[in-house]
Symmetry: none
Subunit: 402 residues, 2 copies
């Protein structure tokens, strides 16, 4: 597979300019009943003014037609091939609840389940509340601390979900899910898929028996299923690859985790977009590159809440002067994927992209939305090409060839 990072390596020449990548999660949409997308509907004087100084385009997160999860969506805009680098479900789940994952750890997503005898009768244990579920997690942490020389830790998640962490030597992560996927099937023990994961499989299978024993008197949460066993992935370090000292400003743990995973410095921030932009100002002198993540455009897309998605865009627009007064050399406004309100979920549609910098073509557009971006001067490109463009517009990419 052609590796852009490998190709760019010798062309990158650091300088002192500042790049801001503002990611409105799930920003791309399709028109609602009234024929407008949230970006079209929102009143965004600041974004509109930016358009006149910017180049527009749209990105394909992975491949045309492919709907990315948050992992591949972010890897793409961070300049990593989302097909080459895959992030296990266990890792993502762990990042999402702020679990520290070290080099010797294997993590997995856990589900509490209900069994009768050895048959799974409810894969979600009747959807317990997060509080109920956390009590069982606490019980497991009390009763099961170690198997052989491997430390066992459970972390509470939402409802029936939790995270399992195994810490020890020689733990591979190539093993089958310990989950029959369907109800009415018997308990499924895991199996190693390579030699280096045999110890992990043995520990997990012993753990299943211990969990069954500890929870035998529970009426609903009397067993657990495990999926997505994964170690912390071995990904080239963003700062080394792009020669950029990078800060991540994000409210939600999963996005802080994704940024940390590629090697960005996660900085503390508040709860609102304005808080995030203030953090940007505070840290302005300490970094070259800033990833700023706005979550709620995606959340309201997932909820199908068009009006609130519009409001979040307007909130970003209103706070934008705080960012603009810093006068970044390159400002990228984009998303990691589309989350159309009508679809209530991530989608495969291309993602709007705007790049404000000194040497842009500008173009004929007067608004930042899906349609103007589709006709923009940057064309339709892959998300993985956004970072090279960020470097180029910031004057960091030298001429290739004589």
């Amino acid at each position: 597979m052609f590796d852009r990072q490998e190709f760019l390596k010798d062309l990158i020449s650091p300088n002192n300019s500042k790049i801001v990548m503002l990611v409105m999660d799930g920003i791309g949409d399709i028109p609602n009943e009234d024929g407008l997308t949230p970006l079209q509907k929102a009143n965004t004087p600041n974004l509109d003014a930016l358009v006149k100084e910017s180049d527009l385009g749209q990105t394909i997160p992975v491949l045309p037609g492919v709907t990315p999860g948050s992992g591949p969506g972010h890897l793409g805009i961070f300049g990593y091939d989302p097909i080459k680098y895959q992030i296990g479900r266990g890792i993502l789940e762990a990042l999402g609840i702020d679990v520290e994952v070290g080099e010797k750890d294997v993590v997995a997503r856990g589900n509490f389940a209900t069994i009768k005898g050895d048959i799974i009768v409810d894969r979600r244990a009747g959807r317990p509340s997060s509080e109920e579920s956390a009590q069982i997690v606490s019980l497991l942490n009390d009763k099961i601390k170690q198997i052989e020389d491997v430390k066992i830790t459970f972390y509470p998640g939402k409802e029936h979900r939790f995270v399992l962490k195994l810490t020890g030597d020689n733990l591979g992560d190539k093993l089958e899910d310990a989950d029959p996927q369907k109800e009415g099937k018997p308990i499924k023990y895991t199996q190693a898929l390579d030699e280096s994961s045999e110890k992990t499989a043995r520990i997990v299978n012993k753990l299943l028996d211990e969990i069954k024993n500890v929870l035998k008197d529970e009426s609903k949460m009397n067993f657990a299923l495990f999926r997505g066993f994964s170690k912390y992935p071995d990904i080239p370090n963003f700062e080394n690859v792009f020669k950029l000292k990078a800060a991540a400003i994000a409210v939600y743990p999963m996005y802080r985790g994704l940024a940390k995973l590629v090697g960005m410095n996660v900085v503390k921030t508040g709860q609102t977009v304005e808080d995030e932009f203030k953090t940007l100002k505070e840290k302005w002198n300490d970094f070259d590159f800033f990833y700023v993540h706005v979550k709620k455009t995606d959340s309201y897309g997932e909820d199908g809440n068009f009006d609130n998605k519009v409001k979040v865009i307007e909130e970003v627009d209103k706070a934008l002067p705080l960012l603009l007064e810093l006068n970044p050399d390159v400002l990228i406004v984009t998303g990691d994927h589309s989350t159309p309100c009508l679809m209530k979920g991530h989608s495969f549609h291309p993602v709007p992209l705007m790049i404000k910098a000194k040497f842009t073509r500008k173009g004929l557009s007067k608004a930042y939305n899906e349609f103007e971006c589709a006709r923009g001067t940057l064309g339709t490109i892959y998300a993985i090409d956004v970072m090279p463009l960020a470097l180029a517009y910031s004057g960091r990419l030298e001429k290739y060839g004589a």
Copy 2:
């Protein structure tokens, strides 16, 4: 080479929705003297109404600048990498005249030629009529039925062309053309390019001598040249790859053959576009995916007949309500390549693409033509990305990554 089919495999989840891919062969064009393309000139109220509900884009059949034959043009829109999968000239010629090609067969394109002594003096034997040529084919079938244990069959084609089929065990297809390519050169015997094709080469060379002997008294068609020895290609089955039960509705044998070659079910139909749409209705409940092929847009492009190309587009538009009343979940309107009337042949220009489905962005366009498609919300993509988009718009592609 990155294999999209391999990548998509785990993401495809079948459902009951219906996809129609309407292929107007060679639909893309360039403006004629009056400044309009056939798509712009044609009166197409039904296509124009569709545009408002659709996403537009344009496809690159193979690579920018590469003009595809019908084989690679179709492989691309069928979701096969046209560089990875190549269809021999012999196979395409055989498909074009409805020759059944089995696993043990090697086929080649034949040309009747005129020789004097052992020198080729006319590579097309004075361009005989198809009737004259068919008589010689019949004579050869009478006189040459078998060489060693290999069955020999000749099938008449257009003018000086015919198809040769060898049927037997251990027949490889890696051999040189038995054709010196230029007139004034001596007869060229073939040569095996690998060990497994040595038997085929020996048979073909004996056959050349037998043909020369049988036709020694003919004045013009007294010899034959053979090109493109090929076996039926080993191509992953469309229905397995995309998990779609697929029907092909096409008037011309080559396109039925191409569809059969990837594993579609070829259904019987009539001669007109209206007939094809009626067949679509008849078979509506039996399949998930329908490839509907309109040939004459290409034929008139090849003839340089602008007005008739316009008329075929209008014929399609007029018949379109028959298709639309079936209410397909996804309707794709595209071509396999461009055939500009001014060029009188296939070209490398991008191909208009329209996708009508539930979750489209729609966009700002009001007509289906080369220019609106170039500005469409799908952007400029490769033909091989059309099938993934068809799956995505039909709700058959699951999210990639967590």
